[in-house]
Amino acid sequence: MRAELRGDETMKVKFNIWRSGNSIGEFREYQTEITEGMVVLDAVHQIQEESAPDLAVRWNCKAGKCGSCSAEINGRPKLMCMTRMEDMPKDKPISIQPMQAFPIIKDLVTDVSVNYRAKKKIKKFKPRQPDAPDGTWRMAQSDIDRVQEFRKCIECFLCQDVCHVLREHWLHEKFAGPRHMVYAAALEMHPLDVEDRRDDLKHTAGIGYCNITKCCTTVCPENITITDNAIIPLKERVADKFYDPLKSLFRLFSKKS
């Protein structure tokens, strides 16, 4: 049952929010009044002000651009600021829990530092020599459409959250995760970049762990086609280098390695 609110109407809605810390971890029920056009983050703010001022939650822009307010709402990984109350069933309490793929710091706040460490391991941008005497480059719009898709990423880590390799198997130290495959693709496919990250993709970032389940693609709030546009092409490049028999033979007989 979905209730539509109009104008000055309000309704009281129940929320089950995960509270943790000091060795407790449990859902606690809160109630707050919902008005037209509210998003889940608005409800959480109200609950903070009305009943739980120590409720830990990350947020910043409230407009789907900073990627801070990632959580799991009724079990689905979403940004709290882009989840409209209008779209939520209100006949049962709405559950809000932190991302499950990362250790919990407190309540809805998780330790996402592993993502920052994984990013640092990927070799940085290395441009070719400038194309023009004034030190600038020339790139066609059609050449950059691909990487511009990847660079829309707001680092919300919802894709990381949903990937079973991280979420279920907890292989954070072996698999960099979909976000970092997108980051690597943005560099590898950058028209100006001359670095080769294929060794690292195979041995450090663990691209082999991805088995094309595509859960990441379904949760991306920026609609980046993660698996098809970033991961699979990278896998192909890695396969070219390490598994193509003709190319291996060629490498064996040429001076390059």
Binding site: P53, A56, Y116, K124, R138, A140
Partner: protein, 604 residues
Amino acid sequence: MAAYETLHHDVLVIGSGGAGLRAAIEASSKGVSVGMVCRSLLGKAHTVMAEGGVAAALANVDDRDNWRVHFADTMRGGQYLNNWRMVELFTKEAPDRVKELEAWGAVFDRTPDGRILQRNFGGHKYPRLAHVGDRTGLEMIRTLQDHGIHQGIDVYQEHTIVSLLKDGDRIVGAFGYDRGTGSFKVFKAKAVVITTGGMGRIFKISSNSWDCTGGGISMAYQAGAELIDMEFVQFHPTGMVWPPSVRGLLITEGVRGEGGVLRNSLGKRFMFDDIPENYRSQTSTDEEEGWRYIQGDKNAKRPPELLTRDHVARCIMREIKAGRGSPHGGVFLDIAWIKEKISNAPEHIKRKLPSMYHQFKELAGVDITKEPMEIGPTTHYMMGGIKVEADTQMTTVPGLFAAGECAAGLHGANRLGGNSLSDLLVFGKRAGEFAAEYSKNNPETNINQSQVSDIMSWALAPFERGLKNGNAFHLQSQLQDFMQNLVGITRTEADLSQAISKIEEIKALIKEVGCDGNRNFNPGWHTALELNHMITVAEGIARAARERKESRGGHFREDFTEKSAEFGNVNISIIKSGPDAMEVKQKPKLELRQDLAQIIEEMK
């Protein structure tokens, strides 16, 4: 007794948005040890919200552009109250800073011949804004972040600085806490750079992120630094107005740059009714010509929707107050109409303004390719802040530097769109450079232990007070409400005086509210502490606004509606003159250098 950890760096950067990252990168490139504190997670500062673009006279789209035109545009927009030396450095150096971003991996939209594309924007004579769709801020912060993480900078994520530390007159570091654990940290440094951004969150309706509470401006003031231009708050004309939860959210000026027009409830393009004197020569009076300008006709004049933000905001307020507004209390911004002019209008709109399309669709259920948007003014940017020396970005406190939105002088009484992103790069770089140099040329610092103990006790006091007098969120709400009503777009002597007395009440109440729970990630505690900064900045704005008895740029007085020659020659300066005493003074502005005055004359 609570303990604290001491961390040592040569340069400490407080704030990790565009300016902070650029400063940290520059400082560390000089070989000094750099620590950068971010309140939120790295790469999520308010810079990500910037949509329009980064203004620089690259002249890629119109070769008539150069730094002199940009200089004249910026001074005109600032109503000639700008620090002209800052404007000179800014307009000269912006092109190099943008090219540098590309060298670090930024991918801007391209011209047909493969160079960085530039778009039109309010107050800029020629197309000047390098951009990536409507997400240039994200591109900039991500590029700086991805470059910066390999520079050896120590990043302290989710740490909040609460106070600067001094030894006599000199800055020696800062005191703060880890937001996750609540543990205290003392950062010992030889030079400190403040890059904490704006203060929009002290108003109810604002485009600003949670981060934007003016903390750095307040801390600099408390440390004895001079503030200027605090009365100049920019109210961006186009924020969302409905539904209530998105009220204030920004709609980029880029919509108007792509042909969006403003209409009242009668369907009239009311901007044509009121074109200010000093912009008459470059503004068209004809709808057709306005459209030709949007299309890139170099001989056409710009439509009045692309006049400066302060003027557009006031025109919109006038329509709303006169009862010609939209159903939810705004006016209409319409881009769907361009289907009369171009054949694939919906695709064009979605490609040029994807975030706007997405934002309206997801949050308001409005398809901007089919229907007009309801918009109204929103608190957006702070032109005022910490006074800095133009070349070095050093404040009036030795060893303390500031750059970006929290610093003042570049934008004068009103900022042009696109000038903020390039401000961050130009002055972030200078602040980092000179902070590094200062740290190399000055001796080690000493932390005063008892000063630290005092701050710690003060920081822990909210826990002792508990919740018997209410929580900090309620008080914050009250502050936001009266700032919105009394110190907003239109100001009066009576309102401003009332605001000042309310501020005094809140100051007393801040000492009574508290928090419960423990120090682990406790937003109630964080807000109780942050309120001290918000109230200081609020007081600065209200007092400066009361002092300036004229209307100019972003500051509009209903009781002094015209510009005055007398006030046109002064900046309002604020300094701490005693424990609870904010001193307000009028200071004559620096006389414009002859060659620069010449440029302004030529461009009139």
